[in-house]
Symmetry: D2
Subunit: 336 residues, 4 copies
């Protein structure tokens, strides 16, 4: 961390600041220029708060040199993390396809979808039971019953399941869920992250709509700092001025994250664009950019879906997409 010091400070004030910094177990390197004095801090600066530093009246500005996350940082753990989901590996040399409906609607529907996506090549089944909806008047999901339906499909089709948690108090329903999903709106629900950090279950963490890549990694750090290292990161589109797609898929986040962290990175093309007709193009782009997997909304009858039908592809379209994915995975030397 580098502190830029006001040119008009007195030597006494400055010496006091240096003492304070050293009392925080930081080594200091001072460079005195004509107009600017710079203090470099060496030590575990991930414990320092950049805003606290800025509050000091002697400090003009503060620049971070090293990343504020540790456990998620590739520098301290260069090998790719590979997470085992009941025999399905995520990360490393694998490309994992998670598919299923936005909302779980009925046992019959989910069985039909689960059976088909598995046949097409998906390896994890998704389905929303607790649904975060912008309007209090919209369908809020089947809740606990939805999870039971997922569990039945899981044992019937022998496929791991993932579903979203909205509140800590629902954790008891997630015992047989294989991956717990944290939605974009909860990416900075720090209480929830800490609690999930104390579970022994993989967590798929979606990037918030307006969260930076660094904030996403800090949220992963919340989970990991409590002991759970099985975190999967998911880019799902950010909010920008462009309105022709629901969100703007930040495809560069894939290679950036792969450089910064050892955690698996997957892409959700469905929420990113909000339009089924763009899902195949974005799925292929995800694998070409280096993602470890995709999570796609698939529905047996999108026009009748209880939520997000506009962005769901059909079972046939998914089968066709998987044929393309297989070719791209081969080019990228990824096992499906």
């Amino acid at each position: 961390m580098i502190l830029i010091i006001r040119p008009d400070r007195t030597d006494i004030e400055f010496d006091k600041l240096i003492c304070e910094l050293e009392s925080m177990k930081m080594k200091t390197h001072v460079s005195v220029g004509e107009n600017t004095t710079i203090v470099g801090l060496v030590g575990d600066t991930s414990l320092l708060d950049i805003n606290e530093m800025k509050a000091n009246p002697l400090v003009l500005d503060v620049k971070r040199v090293s990343e504020p996350y540790k456990r998620a940082n590739r520098k301290f753990n260069s090998a790719d993390t590979v997470i085992d989901i009941n025999g399905v590996p995520i990360g490393g040399g694998y490309f994992t396809v998670i598919a299923g409906p936005c909302s779980v609607e009925s046992q019959q529907q989910l069985n039909l979808i689960a059976c088909n996506i598995k046949k097409s090549g998906a390896s994890v089944l998704r389905g929303g039971a607790f649904k975060p909806r912008t309007s209090p008047y919209a369908f809020q999901g089947l809740e606990a019953e939805g999870i039971k339906i997922l569990e039945n499909a899981k044992s019937r089709e022998d496929i791991p399941i993932i579903t979203e948690i909205m509140d800590i108090s629902d954790l008891r329903y997630f015992e047989n869920v294989d991956i717990i999903q944290v939605g974009a709106r909860n990416m900075q629900n720090f209480r929830l992250l800490k609690m999930l950090g104390r579970q022994k279950k993989p967590v798929l963490l979606k990037r918030g709509m307006s969260s930076t890549i660094e904030e996403l990694l800090m949220s992963a750090e919340y989970i990991m700092s409590e002991g759970n290292n099985d975190v999967i990161l998911c880019e799902r589109g950010i909010r920008t001025f462009e309105t022709s797609t629901r969100n703007t898929l930040d495809i560069s986040a894939v290679p950036v994250l792969k450089k910064l962290t050892h955690l698996p990175v997957i892409v959700d093309p469905s929420h990113a664009c909000g339009n089924a007709c763009f899902v195949p193009a974005l799925s292929k782009a995800a694998i070409a950019a280096g993602a470890d997997g995709i999570m796609v909304e698939v529905h047996n009858n999108p026009a009748k879906a209880l939520s997000d039908g506009a962005q769901s592809i059909t079972l046939e379209e998914f089968d066709c997409l998987m044929n393309n994915i297989r070719k791209y995975a081969e080019l990228e030397n990824k096992k499906l």
Copy 2:
């Protein structure tokens, strides 16, 4: 709500769609043009999901005509809502100043600040007990103990208190808190909103960093739809490309919200800019733009604050700001 229909639809398909829409208790008005057929829906469209409508393969696009919120809508309740906080009115012809430290640090600190801000003219004391921090390694607040400190200052100085809730499970600590604050990161924590909707306590709802004004009103609607109408909206800056301030204060949100809703609208200039030296200018701009109040971070010694010191003004600066606020309030015919 207006549906734009594909030009290549068959009559049979179209008639089926109209039947479906009417079975949802919507009246339909059809206009057939040369290239485009338009269906206008009349009825309570706040219950319709725009994304479900778009999923219908006959539908090219959907445009909303009326707002999706009802209880928060000024159209259905034209008079300003005035909320009584233990004798302190918020909304209507009043301008309310909420002030205090970012984090509650000690009883002594809070007493000192409470006494001073009250003397200067603030009418509500703020202070964070449960702190949402980007880093798991940063100070997380005094939690339950912090609320006790707030309660003591409240009874000592006879001033209502406001503090932030981070999780439903903490609700028991908020019995003597006068206004429960929902932070920007929790604006779409729908479970929390619903639970607060069942309380008999005013809620201050902060706009999410990348939430639209309509989404803010939908989140207010979540609280109100459960029976609690005492919602105060707070603009605190949105995330944009500009980095010279921490966030970008959306000052236009004030007149826009005052037009769309009857709920009180206040501004948090401290989080908006993240820099104490801009707080006075933005506070004056807030009152000039029509806000019903401001929430300002004030600290006895910003350089030593445990959080957000850079954006806290001193007790002296706050006193000076209040002198200006009084003159501006007079110009705007607002009672302080």
Copy 3:
């Protein structure tokens, strides 16, 4: 175009509005609901200005149904435009790679780069002669001399050249240039666009940093409306809150544009990310998403480049990238 009418209008006012609209050669379809009256306008609404319509005191809101661009619209010209650049086709079933240094620095440098990128498989040589730089104190390009250097490299290596125009008054220098580039900062320099619309030379139009896809198409329309249909669109990253890359590549813009327009769409991964190490991943993503080509910055010695060295890949990295591009192009059935 749909007009939403104020509920409190008188019949006389309303009839007057309808007369005015019909005098503009628009057919009107009126739907009177309980709370809302809607007027659908049928005719060539691309000539109407949405803001003028909104200014009418009877009009609450205006929604566009059809696109405001015509010549660039795929609806009116479904076949892909294929542009011939001295024998090099752009668009249709082709994938075109444009490569070269950010700035032309010397004849020797450009010859070296041109020879190498051609050998690796690029089909157009890029190089900046007139350089738009944020700082007046930065290197502004070799200007007219730079174009002469490009022309020499063109005839030596028999490869078409592209370079950027910054002002109409420089047009005389572009006689032997094969594609004239309009930079992101000039995307709405309407005078320049109109003048280029009167030339018989292909134009590569870069998307402005904060321009919507519709605005990009409207700028293409400016060129086409003057008679020049040879417009190549280029996505080069948009400005968002994310700072880990220089801009945010809007990869979805590729399939969205391919759906809306028949014009060729290429991607500039170098400016999008601003970091050479992410260029290969984004180049592959571009082709996977359906782009008709890429434009890549390549430099013989990036550390010594006079501009944008950080985002330039080396000659060796480019050669390696082309090997990957060939495999991806085959998968997408594109001729290189």
Copy 4:
């Protein structure tokens, strides 16, 4: 400027880098830490390009310490610049109101508006002659004839005039124009800026829709570096995700700019919100935030305006606004 050096560099490479930096007339201060080596550069770093520095393979990252603009920098010229417009001062202790129609439509219209706004208290007349329009099919302004109409109104009402230039080649028409306006879309038309820097006429420079405050100051620097110091900066709203207003007025830009530069700063509330009903609130916010003036669109009959009618206030509304402005100016100790 601070360079963060790769930890894996050899001493020979590092010494070479230091030599190169010193050959650029920079003094270097090296701090060697355990994991990171930092080089501080002292000298005129405004001449250095941050991207060139980043391209060096030894350099991990670069942080600027001092601003890249000099002439516009308040550090080197602490007194407010006051610009004299034919006897009307802008900047310093003055608050200047510029008003008039979006487009000049006819002599009669402009005379009527000029006469009325002057009576109400405006001191400069605005009106568009050359109009940048998104659509090639929209009204493009009366061009040279429009400027003649402005000149006539100027001499009739004895009021200075301001109008926008779109291209260098039109400069000959601006001889009797008192302030030349550079529109948001041309903020980085560097050729135009340089040419205006060689004129002896004040320039009003609008901030680009997605330009940072630093980029705005760099564009002012382009004009000033050619010898013209009479630059007025104008905040007119930036592009964000929020759609309830046309743009998002960045009100914080006012105090930020006042701190960074000595140049006058004005606000255009009309383009910022795009809706006449919010213009008064934003005008008052501008003066409260410390602006040196506002530029407001006023029209005798907004519903019939040839452009931007939706955001134009009427002559009566303007008169009423001026009454408020006078009271606010008094509070802020500004002369009108």
